[in-house]
Amino acid sequence: MISNANNAWVLFSAVLVMFMTVPALGLFYGGLVKKKNVLALMMQSFTCLIVVSLLWVTVGYSLAFSPTEWIPGVLGDFKWALLNGISPIDPSPYTVSDPNGPVSHLTFVIFQCMFAVITPAVISGAFAERMKFSSYLVFSVLWLFLVYIPLAHMAWSTNGFFAKHGLMDYAGGTVVEINSGFSALAGVLLLGRRKNLKHLPPHNLTYTLIGGAMLWFGWFGFNAGSGLAADGLAANAVLTTNTAAAAAGLVWAILDWVVQKKPTILGAVTGAVGGLVAITPAAGYVTVGGALLLGASAGAVCFIFVVFVKSSLGYDDSLDAFGVHGIAGVLGTIGVGLLASPAITAPFHMNGGKGFAGLFFGDPHALGIQIEATVTSMIWAFLGTLAVFALLEVTMGLRVTERDEAIGLDITQHNEKAYTLIE
């Protein structure tokens, strides 16, 4: 029997996650690019919403989540293609903390759809200001099938081997964050650096601040909806999410102050997003204390990666999709193996009634599973995306011409511009 209360919360969470892609991520990224590329950047997020929404209801959901499989543990089949055979009154086959109050199966479908939408949109930040739109469009289709869907099946479907090994990944540290981060890294390495890279400040940091705040807002649905119930565990997820974001924003701003002499807005916002990423796999497993620790360390580690490591290695991850999502995703997914507290999950009779415990709470076994899943996701995302990009490079080419890059992608890819100078 479907619980209408749980259903209401998870439906609303799906809407919140949609809001994270467009406009939140589009604004967050859009403010960081030059003004001649802002529309092209936002169009990449919008493209994900359009393309993935259609792929998801036709075959994507079925391939990712159907219990019958073509490749055991990796890929489902067409059992639920076009959502065939799923009735609105069917309970979701997946529950987390409230097995007696499932949401509608259709609610689960749209909630997962929005996760599949935002993941490739996060990656797009790495390609900013130089990728052809036509190639991006094909990329978004190929990547969903070859990289996202198998990983979602491994992590979240009832047959997936992460799930069978007892992986703790509350809302997508592996499937969304590590996946998008390491895919971004692979893309950046194949695509190469932008021309005229130096001395180019972000064109509108107010967009970035608004977008970052909207991401924070939407992330409550992303994390607290992932328990598929409107219960106390969802409340814990909202609190840990908020706490980790705040801690990470504070730490980055302080490091800015110490190292770069001023606390920057961009630093505080970027740090907060890093904290949100890190708490994603952990939101329903750790206490607020654990969230403080995870958030603060995410702020520090992402700062070091973006400010020092990126510049010393010289790769051009335009908007730090790897430095924030990849790095904080790894930190959070491994961190939950240390910090998971059974005091959070035991009251919901999860994991056979004893709750989930990390190393610090007496279960050394958990950390190994977290590391195994982290490494598997890293390699899967990196190699899968490398293959997709190599294929695109030899067939369509990835980059715009040097002249088009100089004129800007808004005009050369879309025949529009975001701002006028006169009138």
Binding site: N196, K198, I411, N415, E416, L421
Partner: protein
């Protein structure tokens, strides 16, 4: 005294600035302008309506120099802005009647540098 006005491609500004600094020309005023020469405008499309001949973004540099600095300044601008493509821009040189430094009210060639 001359006033040198250069219209250049926006994405060459950084190179032009560096070339001017290397030539020891440190003073300039920069503005964003619209226009086009033989390169022509671009066509943009908004909800199906095509708008042709849209003006392109350009950068306008204004540099006031004494006569013996004219050639070095022109050479620096050309070296930074030239790509060989249509749309590289133009340089105009005007005679400058007077120059007054507001802070000290000094006039003429000594007020320029």
């Amino acid at each position: 005294m001359k006033l040198i006005v250069a219209i250049i491609q926006p994405y060459r500004l950084d190179e032009v600035k560096q070339a001017l600094y290397s030539a020891d020309v440190q003073l300039m005023t920069v503005s964003e302008v619209l226009g086009h020469g033989r390169q022509g405008g671009v066509t943009e499309v908004y909800r199906g309506s095509r708008e042709t001949g849209n003006l392109l973004r350009k950068i306008r540099l204004e540099i006031a120099v004494n006569d013996d600095w004219v050639e070095p300044t022109i050479t620096a601008i050309v070296s930074g802005a030239k790509t060989g493509e249509l749309g590289d821009g133009k340089i105009f040189v005007y005679s400058l009647e007077e120059c007054i430094r507001i802070r000290t009210e000094e006039r003429g060639p000594s007020a320029i540098g």
